[in-house]
Symmetry: C2
Subunit: 449 residues, 2 copies
């Protein structure tokens, strides 16, 4: 059992939120130490460097210029944002096979009306207190699925599923109120789900990988980040906080827990947290739609065939694939996601080699035989990763209205960060940074009086 | 770090499920060790003995004769089941105040029809595989709340809430499919929710407290139960299982994890569990309607006033109170539950003394001033208890149909017990015992196979 040097503020989690919190405290001259379960920083952002100089972006990667904190951090750490080419037709998978459609879809009046209706509803949801929306109770007692079915039946559900909400979660997994909160806090449906649109939140990618930012902060923090240190228990009393892992302990004055709510719930707390906090974290869960694969090529061959590289499927093992080729074009990239439902779930039961073969087989029936000329295949099953257990957090029915006020409320010496606690861009890297800086601000206020 | 003696089978959790599993293995001559985070056995059953000889039943307490394993265990350990007197009027709280109604409510044709409809639906749900119900997808994508509102609007919801479903959870917290599964697996609505009915599952109580059973098994197991040993991590490989806590480690050949799914999710696993298991446990949560209080008296004064002792309220801080006086009548008991919503939630923010005063104040306006003659007040906030975090487990929408098959499926050397994994009487002590014995049977089959 190693006793780490006593610190003023401990931060649990070296993802974007925890590292942003630690950086802000460190810059303010407050002694801080970060405890991280993994052997790397970045959390759900993971961009390993290959020996030949290529970078594989295996986790969250998309940002937008309006995400000002991320944009600035990119500049500070010398990263190069690029915009992906989005000209050409899309592929719609028929499993196997696919047909081509223009990327600019013909207007669907019903869909436009429904989205406009949801936008109007979303505008009534206060992002800092969704439970205060005038219709909060009505919307939090039903799933998004129920609302869509009541509004337009299975046909509307089919249209909306992958095209619009699939990005976040499945409509049956999520409270309608949460879907509206998430939409508004991220700048509206147009911003969240219109791939290639200028207003979208996914217009840019850092060519070097966003993880370079948390690695940069790691260096700034000068040996104050402890990797391979999973935290198991947080005990607090009048004097301070005692943090325990399997192989270490750490004394601090305060602690910022920078993990998704569902993972915060893994920790043991003494004294117990208030009931509302315990009940809230159990009513959030992480989307399983995040088994990501990356196929790398020498060139984006699909562009020569008049394709933009986007593949979508409502029924297949691969939900979506997208061109993520950096604009230096030293290599080309198709990034895709495997569904965790139906046939996609079966795919996840295969060995990695068999899964690779099955994905190539499926995509060859859509992109053509050239797909077989890929240089390398990479993947990460975020839901099967014990330290993440999924991708984007969603709130189950009744979580916000019953216990939402416990989300950010400090408990004694414990403060809560994590992208889920953000009121702007929750679920994104941008939200993580803002939430981390907000939590650091809470702690600073205690010291600055 | 204490290294405990290597064992064949480790059991995590000394509640009814874990202790039943351990007992079955021990009786079969298999070396077993139980690891328990608390300083006592029993889990969500906790029946402390007072110095003057009284027993306070602070957790689950009700059983029925048809719960054959519990009935037999009671006999084996010399416990005395009693039936509570249920004659007299009920009180319906108006906060403050109350009015009296006959305990045998007049027939409500609408309510009877709805319950009959739900029973018919429930009969189509296979208890061992709810996802195979013909309408599983339709029922698992909506909350019970949605179904009730669609069926009969807010008026029906009001009728059903506390009277029928409140016992399990709030209708907005639970998938309709789960409510149907839970109902069927517990013998139908009549069995679950008809207080005082002969067919109900709550006809009897062990006067000495059911916890005496797990204490009895503790003695049988002869120093093989390790209290104050919270498990943090389970690592497995071809040779066996390595279990880690803060202060101990244990090597075993196999492990039975006997905790609610939401608490299983607290553990660290190496290698990672399959995605489906991680996603399932996050989609279950524990009901917060379990802050229980016990008021003890010298005699059940309410009976003299023509009351059966039952108090129900749809809006108040106290959801329900009930006569739980043992038939030896050496003392009298009112057991009650504090709601975790609305004004009940505020009540939980008070100190214990202030909460006691508030409850007495409220109940005096219902039962009359004699309530102030209570001998002692006891309570336990199960949702605010770090090691339980709630009461009865419910499944959120889409949990069963997306990932239900991961509930009992062993993962390598890890087997799953806990009342939630029972196909008969889940959520009850009886389900816990049956699930524990089923898991022990799985392990035995490996050795005898």
């Amino acid at each position: 059992m190693t006793e780490l040097p006593k610190t003023r503020v401990a931060v649990v989690g070296a993802g974007f939120s925890g590292m942003s919190a630690a950086r802000k405290l460190h810059q303010a001259g407050i002694d801080v130490r970060v405890l991280e379960a993994r052997d790397r920083t970045g959390g759900r952002i993971w961009d390993p460097l290959l020996e030949d100089g290529r970078t594989v972006l295996l986790g969250g990667q998309w940002i937008a210029k309006k995400q000002t904190r991320m944009w600035t951090l990119g500049e500070e750490f010398g990263l190069t944002p690029f915009t992906t080419v989005r000209t050409g037709d899309m592929l719609v998978g028929t499993n196997p096979g696919a047909f081509r459609i223009p990327q600019k879809l013909p207007d669907d009046i019903e869909l436009d009306m429904v989205i406009s209706e949801l936008e109007t509803m979303a505008e009534t949801v206060p992002v800092d207190a969704p439970w205060n929306a005038p219709n909060a109770l009505e919307w939090d007692t039903q799933t998004l699925h129920t609302w869509i079915i009541n509004r337009g039946g299975p046909e509307l559900l089919r249209k909306m599923d992958n095209a619009i909400m699939g990005y976040m979660s499945l409509p049956e997994d999520v409270s309608l109120l949460h879907a509206l909160f998430y939409t508004r806090a991220n700048g509206g449906f147009g911003s969240l789900f219109s791939m290639g649109d200028e207003n979208a939140h996914d217009t840019h990618v850092f060519a070097e990988g966003a993880q370079r930012i948390t690695e940069g902060i790691y260096n700034e923090l000068d040996n104050r980040v402890h990797l391979n240190c999973p935290v198991y228990a947080i005990n607090q009393n009048k004097e301070g906080v005692h943090i325990e892992g399997g192989s270490f302990s750490l004394e601090a004055e305060r602690v910022i827990v920078a993990m998704p709510p569902a993972l915060c719930a893994r920790l043991h707390f003494k004294p117990s947290l208030p009931a509302a906090r315990n009940l809230l974290t159990q009513r959030t869960h992480m989307s399983g739609r995040g088994a990501k694969f990356v196929l790398m090529f020498t060139k984006p061959f699909w562009r020569e065939n008049g394709l933009c590289g986007i593949y979508v499927s409502e029924t297949g093992t691969v939900t979506i694939a997208i061109d993520a080729t950096p604009d230096h074009e030293k290599w080309a990239v198709l990034a895709g996601f495997v569904s965790d439902k139906g046939s996609g779930k079966d795919l996840m039961d295969l060995t990695q080699d068999d899964r690779e073969s099955a994905i190539i087989e499926l995509l060859s029936s859509a992109y053509g035989e050239q797909i077989r000329e890929y240089v390398s295949y990479h993947e990460h099953d975020w839901a099967g990763d014990d330290l993440s257990r999924g991708c984007v957090t969603v709130f189950s029915t009744s979580a916000w209205t019953s216990y939402g006020s416990a989300l950010r409320k400090p408990v004694g010496r414990i403060h809560w960060a994590g992208t889920e606690t953000a009121t702007e861009f929750p679920g994104q890297m941008e939200g993580a940074v803002r939430a981390g800086e907000r939590a650091a601000g809470e702690v600073l206020a205690k010291y600055l009086g």
